[in-house]
C-alpha cells in the first residue's frame, strides 16, 4: 500500500457509464478578488487562461476551475503542490490572497460513456442538457444528498468531485444511477 491514498482509490464500476476514482491529484484553493491585476498575475504564473464564470480552463495536467466569484480551484500533479504554493507566495507578496493545499480534501471521479447526461440527471437537479451544460462547463450542485462539482471535460466525459468523507457515498450513488436497465433515453446519446 502506498503511503499516499486518494479516497476510494482504485474504485471502478462499469454500467451505463464507466466510473473510476482518480488517483491523488494536486489541488490548491485560491481565494482573491478577480480584478485585472490578480487575473494577469495568476494567468502568467499558471500558464492557464482565466476561466469564465461556471467554466474551467485546462492545459496538460493543469486546470483552473471557477468555483465562485472569488474562488478558484487549481488542479495540478500532486507532487507539484508545495512548489506552486511557494511560487504563489512569491508572486503575491502581501496581496490579499488565500492559497491553501486542498489536495486531500476532495475525491475526483471520471465518468465516461454515451449515457453520461442521463445518469447524472438521476442524481443532480442541475440541468444536464447539451444546451445548458457544454464541454468546459463547471457546475456546482447536489449529487443526491451531498454537494458536488460537475466538470464536463468532453461530450461523453465528466469529472465529478465531492468532499472526501462522502466519496464512498458518491461512488455508490453514481454506480446505482448507472446500473444497466436504467436507460432513460432523455438526453441525446
Amino acid at each position: 500500500m502506498s503511503e499516499v491514498m486518494a479516497p476510494m482509490q482504485g474504485a471502478h464500476s462499469d454500467g451505463l457509464v464507466e466510473i473510476e476514482a482518480l488517483p491523488p491529484l494536486g489541488q490548491i484553493a485560491l481565494r482573491c478578488e478577480f480584478s485585472d491585476d490578480y487575473r494577469a498575475k495568476l494567468t502568467g504564473l499558471l500558464g492557464l487562461g482565466f476561466p469564465e464564470p461556471l467554466k474551467a480552463t485546462a492545459e496538460g495536467e493543469r486546470a483552473l476551475l471557477w468555483m465562485s466569484p472569488d474562488e478558484l480551484l487549481l488542479l495540478l500533479p500532486y507532487d507539484e503542490v508545495p512548489g506552486m504554493l511557494a511560487r504563489l507566495e512569491e508572486t503575491f507578496p502581501n496581496w490579499i490572497l488565500l492559497a491553501a493545499d486542498v489536495s486531500d480534501m476532495r475525491a475526483h471521479f471520471r465518468l465516461r460513456g454515451p449515457h453520461l447526461r442521463d445518469v447524472l440527471s438521476k442524481i443532480t437537479p442541475a440541468d444536464m442538457a447539451p444546451g445548458a451544460f457544454a464541454p468546459g462547463d463547471l457546475r456546482r450542485s447536489r449529487l443526491a444528498q451531498v454537494a458536488a462539482g460537475f466538470w464536463l471535460r468532453g461530450p461523453e466525459e465528466a469529472q465529478v468531485f465531492v468532499f472526501r468523507s462522502v466519496a464512498d457515498y458518491a461512488f455508490r450513488a453514481m454506480s446505482v444511477a448507472a446500473e444497466p436497465g436504467g436507460e432513460v433515453g432523455f438526453h441525446p446519446a
Binding site: 486518494a6 488565500l98 486531500d104 437537479p125 443526491a144 432513460v184
Partner: protein, 1011 residues
C-alpha cells in the same frame, strides 16, 4: 355474466395467452389486458368489499378513477396493497388477492355492518366512541384497529426487492396527457421549436377518442394517433413517455411525473418506478375528463358500471360486462355505449334517459339499431345482491314508484363528464362552474402563476370542458401555440379538421329519481370505497355542516384512495341541494398532489440501504471497521464509540481504553474536528467578533481555547484557535459544527462586514487528525523521529510544523483528556498510513486506540464541557464557569449585547458543578434535582439537572456534571435527583442523592498535561 367476446380488443393480442392467479385461482388472459379486463373476461365481477359496510364491490371504471377494484398485488418482497386492477397491466405469473374481507370474498362476516347501515350514519364513529372515555383504550380502539385500514401493510421485516430512481428533467413545455389533445399540442409546440415532454399515464396513446369515434383529417382516430405519434417521435425536441403520470404541479414550474418503468414486466432489469422531477416553463394539462356515476338505489351492486368503462372493455379488450345491459343516462354520450354494445352483438334491453325529451342524433342512431329508448325515465332501484339481476324503472320526475322491472346482468350509467382539473388546481388555479355541462372547469382569469407572475399552467381538450372532437383539437392547438409563443417561439395555428356527432345538452341529475324517498337515498352511493350515501351528505347538512371541507371530513366523502374522482361533484351537488346554496357557492374541496397514489419507493429513489443517507468517513474508517469499532453517529460522521475485543462488552472496552490511555498511551481519530482557515488583514479583528475571547493578540505559534456564541448570547461552538502566521488563523470547531460555523463566518463576512478583508476556507477534510495521548505520548513521537517535540521546544498550547516518520505533520500540544497529548494533523491521503505507523511504533507502550466514549469520560473527569451536553442552546458561557474565556476588554463580539440582558445577568441562573452520588453509582442522564414545592401543573419544582454522567474507571465511581441553581456557592450540599422513569406527578418519587463538588475530578492542577 361477463365474458370474452369472440373478437375485438384494440389492446389485446389473442395469440399471447397469459396466466395469472386471483385469490388462489388460476386464470388466463391475453397480452395487453389489464388485470381488470382479464378478471372481467373470466366472469370475476366481485373484486372486493367496501370499507365500512363490507358490501360486495365490483369494477366501476376502466382507468385511474376506479374506487373498488383494489387488490393486494405480488408476494413477499414484492407485495403491495391497494393496487388498482384497472391500471395494472397483466403479466405472466401475476398474483393478486382481494382485500377487506373476512373470511372470504364471497362470504364476509363484516357484511352485518351493511344490515346495520341505518344505525351507522355519517359521523357515527365520532358520535359513538366519545363516551365513556374508559372504553376507548380497551374496547373501541382494538376493535377499530382490527377493522380499520384498506388492504394490509407489507410485513415490516420484508425489504422491497425492487429499485427506484429519480430523474431531473428541464424542459420548456410539459404536456400531461397523451390523448388527441395532448398529441396535437405536442405536435404544434414541437413544430414551433419548443423543448417538449409529453407524458401519458396509460400504456397507449390516443386516450378515449379511438373508442368514442369520429374522424380527424378524414382518418379514423386510431390511424391519426399512429401517424401523429410517428411524427412526434421524429422530432428531436419532443420526448414521449408512456406509463408516466403527471402526479403534481408545484411552485415555479416544478412538476412530478411518476413513471412505472417495469411494473408490467417484473424481473426485467432496471428500476421499477422512476420519479420525474421536472422543471419547466409552461405546463399544458390535457388530462381529459372522468365520467360521473348516477345516484340511484343499488348503484353499487356489482355489474353497475360507468357507461364509458363498459364501452372501453368491449372496444379495447373485447370483454363484455354482461349479456344484457340497461343503459341509464342524462346525456348523449351514454348512447355511445348502447351502440357499441349492440354492434358487438350484445343485448341492450333499454336506454333510460332521464331527460324528458331524450337526446339528439345519437338517440336516433340507437333507435335505428332497434334499441328501446325511454325518455324521462330512471332507475328506482337495482335488483340483485352480489350481481345485478335487473332494474326497476321509474319516472325521473317522481318518487320512485316502480313502472317496470327489466331483467339484465349489467347496468351502464352516465351522469355526464367532469374535467380532470387536478393539475390546474394543485398550484392555485381556480375553477368556474359550467352551468350547461354541470361541471367545474379551469377559470382562465385565475390561473396558477409562476416566478414571473404570469400564468404557467394551461388546460386543453376535455380537461377544459371541450368535449366535441373538433373543439378538443382546436383548443389543444391554440393552447400549444400560446405556450410556444410565451416561450418566445413563433408558431402558427393549423388544427386538423375533425368530425364527430353533435350532442344534445345534458340535464343535471344529482339524484335518481329526483324525489327519491329515504329508503332509496340510503342505498344511493356517492363514494363507493368509503360507503358514503346521498343520505349521509343530507344528514351532515341537517346537522349544520355547511362547508364542503367539513362535510368531507365528517362523512369521509372523497377521502378514500381515489380521492373523490367519481364522488366529489355528485356529493357537493347533493350538499348544495340540501343547503339550498348554488353549487359554485358551495365550492370544491382542495385538490392536492399526487393525482393518484405513488409508491414510497419512487419518492425515496436511490436513497435506501447503504445510501439511505450519506455517511461521512474519516481516512481511517476502514481500519476502524476492520478492528470491530462500535459506531457512534456524530452528525453524518460515523466515529468509533469504542473497539470491543472478543468477549468484551462495550462498557469493558471503554474502561480498558481509558485505563491504557491514562497509564501509558492511547490514540484517537480526531479527523472529524472542524478546521477553518481564516486569513487576511482584518482576520484578527474578525475573529475577535466571532469568539468571546481575544484572538487578535494570540502570538504566532500558539493555541488558545475559544468560545463562539450566537447573537442571542448562547454558547454555539468551541475549539482551539491556532495562530498560523501574522495574517492567518486556523479555527478548530466541534465535529458536528464545522459546516455550520464556516457558513456562520461567511454569513457575517458577506452580509454584515463585507468591506473587511478576510478570506476563509473550510479545510476540515484536508487533514487526518490524530490525538496521541498519555504519559508515553512524547516517547512515541520521539521514536518516530523527525522533529523536536520536547517540552522546551513544543510546550503546552503551542504548535509546530515538521515531519514525523517521514510524514509531513503539524503538531499541536493540546489536551482534551488532561494527559500529555499531541494532536497531529497529516494530509488526509497519508492518514491511514500514518495511523499504521503510530500503531506499529507504539506497540511497546501498549498503544490503545480509543473511541468517543473514552474521550467523553476523560474530558468529564477533567471537567471540560462538551457542546451539546453542557450546552443546549439556552446556556451562556457564564453558566459554565467560563467567564475567564470572555474578554472584558473587547467593545463588541457576537453575543456580548445579549449577555448584558437582564435575564442573562441575573444571579440565580443554573450553573455548572460536579456531582457525585453518595453511593458511588452513576446518576441518570438528564435527571432533575428536586426542589421543595410544586409548580402550577402539580409537578415537583426543580433546581438543576444532570448534563453529563459517566462511570469513571480512573476514579472507580460515578461522576457527573450538571447545572444547579447557585451551584458553585453550594459546594458539599446534597441534592435529590429523580431516579430513572419517574413520573413527576408522583407523590413520593424515588430519588438518587448526590453531592455538589468541583467539576474537575482529575488532576485539578493540570500537572499531567503540562509535562
Amino acid at each position: 355474466m361477463s365474458t370474452r367476446l369472440a373478437k375485438g380488443g384494440r389492446f389485446t393480442d389473442r395469440s399471447k395467452q397469459i396466466g395469472f392467479t386471483f385469490n388462489g385461482k388460476r386464470f388466463t388472459g391475453f397480452a395487453g389486458d389489464t388485470l381488470a379486463s382479464a378478471l372481467l373476461a373470466n366472469d370475476q365481477m366481485l373484486l372486493g368489499r367496501s370499507f365500512k359496510y363490507h358490501r360486495p364491490r365490483g369494477l366501476v371504471a376502466s382507468g385511474a378513477e376506479e374506487p373498488n377494484a383494489l387488490v393486494g398485488l405480488g408476494q413477499g418482497a414484492r407485495f403491495e396493497p391497494d393496487q388498482r386492477a384497472t391500471t395494472t397491466e397483466l403479466f405472466d405469473g401475476l398474483v393478486a388477492d382481494s382485500q377487506n374481507h373476512w373470511p372470504s370474498l364471497e362470504f364476509d362476516v363484516g357484511e352485518v355492518n351493511a344490515a346495520l347501515a341505518r344505525f351507522l350514519p355519517a359521523g357515527f364513529y365520532y358520535k359513538t366512541f366519545l363516551w365513556p372515555r374508559a372504553f376507548w383504550k380497551h374496547l373501541y380502539e382494538p376493535v377499530i384497529r382490527q377493522s380499520a385500514g384498506l388492504g394490509k401493510a407489507p410485513h415490516p421485516e420484508v425489504r422491497d426487492a425492487d429499485r427506484y430512481e429519480h430523474f431531473h428533467a428541464h424542459v420548456d413545455l410539459l404536456i400531461v396527457g397523451g390523448g388527441v389533445a395532448g398529441l396535437q399540442a405536442a405536435k404544434a409546440a414541437g413544430a414551433a421549436g419548443a423543448q417538449v415532454l409529453l407524458i401519458e399515464q396509460g400504456a397507449h396513446w390516443g386516450g378515449r377518442v379511438p373508442v368514442d369515434g369520429g374522424s380527424i383529417d378524414g382518418m379514423a382516430p386510431e390511424d391519426w394517433v399512429t401517424k401523429t405519434v410517428a411524427e412526434l417521435e421524429a422530432m428531436d425536441n419532443v420526448r414521449l413517455r408512456l406509463r408516466c403520470m403527471g402526479a403534481g404541479v408545484y411552485d415555479h414550474g416544478y412538476a412530478l411525473g411518476y413513471e412505472r418503468v417495469t411494473d408490467h414486466k417484473p424481473g426485467a432489469r432496471g428500476p421499477r418506478h422512476r420519479l420525474w422531477r421536472i422543471r419547466c416553463k409552461q405546463i399544458l394539462a390535457a388530462t381529459g375528463a372522468i365520467e360521473r356515476p348516477l345516484s340511484f338505489a343499488g348503484n353499487d351492486v356489482p355489474g353497475v358500471m360507468l357507461a364509458s368503462a363498459l364501452r372501453d372493455y368491449v372496444v379495447n379488450y373485447g370483454v363484455s360486462a354482461g349479456d344484457r345491459t340497461v343503459v341509464v343516462t342524462n346525456n348523449d354520450d351514454g348512447y355511445r355505449t348502447a351502440i357499441a354494445l349492440k354492434q358487438a352483438g350484445l343485448d341492450v334491453p333499454a336506454i333510460l334517459d332521464a331527460r324528458p325529451l331524450g337526446g339528439g342524433a345519437l338517440m336516433g342512431e340507437a333507435r335505428a339499431l332497434g334499441i328501446r329508448v325511454e325518455p324521462g325515465r330512471g332507475i328506482a332501484k337495482v335488483l340483485g345482491g352480489k350481481r345485478v339481476t335487473g332494474v326497476a324503472t321509474c319516472l325521473q320526475a317522481g318518487e320512485g314508484a316502480v313502472l317496470e322491472e327489466i331483467p339484465c346482468d349489467a347496468v351502464a350509467m352516465s351522469g355526464g363528464w367532469s374535467p380532470v382539473v387536478h393539475l390546474w388546481s394543485h398550484c392555485g388555479g381556480k375553477l368556474a362552474w359550467d352551468e350547461a355541462g354541470a361541471f367545474f372547469r379551469p377559470d382562465p382569469s385565475r390561473a396558477p402563476t409562476g416566478a414571473d407572475g404570469a400564468p404557467f399552467v394551461s388546460v386543453a381538450g376535455a380537461a377544459n370542458g371541450a368535449f366535441h372532437l373538433s373543439d378538443t383539437l382546436a383548443e389543444a392547438e391554440k393552447a400549444a401555440v400560446a405556450a410556444a409563443e410565451a416561450l418566445g417561439h413563433k408558431a402558427s395555428e393549423a388544427a386538423p379538421q375533425a368530425e364527430a356527432t353533435k350532442e344534445a345538452p345534458l340535464a343535471p341529475v344529482w339524484l335518481m329519481p329526483q324525489g327519491a324517498h329515504a329508503g332509496l337515498r340510503m342505498k344511493a352511493f356517492l363514494d363507493y370505497q368509503n360507503d358514503v350515501k346521498v343520505s349521509d351528505v343530507q344528514l351532515a347538512a341537517r346537522e349544520g355542516y355547511e362547508s364542503v371541507e367539513h362535510t368531507k371530513r365528517y362523512t369521509t366523502l372523497g377521502m378514500a384512495t381515489d380521492q373523490g374522482k367519481l364522488s366529489n361533484i355528485n356529493g357537493l351537488a347533493v350538499l348544495s341541494d340540501a343547503l339550498g346554496t348554488p353549487v359554485p357557492q358551495v365550492g370544491t374541496t382542495t385538490f392536492r398532489p399526487p393525482y393518484t397514489p405513488i409508491s414510497f419507493g419512487a419518492i425515496a429513489g436511490e436513497a435506501r440501504g447503504e445510501i439511505f443517507q450519506p455517511l461521512r468517513r474519516t481516512p481511517m474508517h476502514d481500519w476502524h471497521e476492520s478492528n470491530n469499532a462500535a459506531w457512534e453517529p456524530v452528525g453524518h460522521w460515523r466515529r468509533p464509540y469504542c473497539y470491543p475485543r472478543p468477549g468484551e462488552t462495550k462498557h469493558d472496552a471503554v474502561k480498558r481504553e481509558i485505563k491504557s490511555t491514562r497509564q501509558s498511551l492511547g490514540i484517537l481519530d480526531a479527523s472529524t474536528l472542524g478546521k477553518i482557515l481564516v486569513k487576511g488583514p482584518d482576520a484578527g479583528r474578525f475573529l475577535d467578533m466571532m469568539y468571546t475571547n481575544m484572538m487578535s493578540t494570540l502570538p504566532v505559534g500558539k493555541c488558545r481555547y475559544g468560545l463562539m456564541c450566537s447573537e442571542n448570547g448562547f454558547l454555539m461552538d468551541d475549539g482551539v484557535v491556532v495562530r498560523l502566521s501574522e495574517d492567518s488563523w486556523l479555527c478548530h470547531t466541534t465535529s458536528g459544527g464545522a459546516d455550520h460555523v464556516h457558513a456562520h463566518m461567511e454569513d457575517w463576512l458577506q452580509c454584515e462586514w463585507w468591506d473587511w478583508k478576510v478570506l476563509t476556507t473550510n479545510l476540515t477534510e484536508q487533514y487526518a487528525q490524530i490525538a496521541v495521548v498519555g504519559p508515553n505520548a512524547r516517547n512515541l513521537l520521539e521514536k518516530l523521529g523527525g522533529m523536536d517535540v520536547s517540552k522546551e521546544t513544543l510546550p503546552f498550547m503551542q504548535w509546530a510544523d515538521g515531519t514525523l516518520a517521514d510524514t509531513p505533520v503539524r503538531v499541536y500540544r493540546i489536551s482534551f483528556s488532561g494527559e500529555l497529548s499531541y494532536e497531529i494533523a497529516v494530509p488526509a491521503n497519508r492518514g491511514r498510513a500514518f495511523w499504521g505507523k503510530l500503531l506499529e511504533a507504539g506497540a511497546e507502550w501498549n498503544i490503545t486506540p480509543y473511541g468517543t466514549e473514552a474521550l467523553h469520560v476523560m474530558r468529564a473527569e477533567k471537567g471540560f464541557i462538551m457542546i451539546g451536553d453542557e450546552s443546549d442552546g439556552t446556556v451562556i458561557p457564564q453558566d459554565l464557569g467560563l467567564s475567564w474565556a470572555i474578554s472584558k476588554k473587547k467593545e463588541d463580539f457576537l453575543g456580548k449585547r445579549a449577555q448584558a440582558r437582564e435575564d442573562m445577568a441575573r444571579g440565580d441562573r443554573w450553573q455548572l458543578v460536579g456531582l457525585e452520588t453518595l453511593d458511588g453509582t452513576v446518576l441518570p442522564d438528564g435527571a432533575y434535582a428536586i426542589a421543595p414545592g410544586r409548580n402550577a401543573n402539580g409537578q415537583r419544582n426543580v433546581q438543576g439537572r444532570v448534563t453529563s454522567t459517566y462511570w469513571s474507571p480512573t476514579l472507580e465511581k460515578g461522576i457527573a456534571m450538571g447545572l444547579v441553581k447557585h451551584g458553585p456557592e453550594r459546594m458539599g450540599e446534597v441534592l435529590a435527583f429523580t431516579a430513572e422513569d419517574q413520573d413527576p406527578t408522583d407523590e413520593k418519587p424515588s430519588v438518587v442523592e448526590a453531592r455538589i463538588v468541583s467539576p474537575v475530578f482529575y488532576d485539578p492542577e493540570g500537572e499531567k498535561q503540562n509535562v
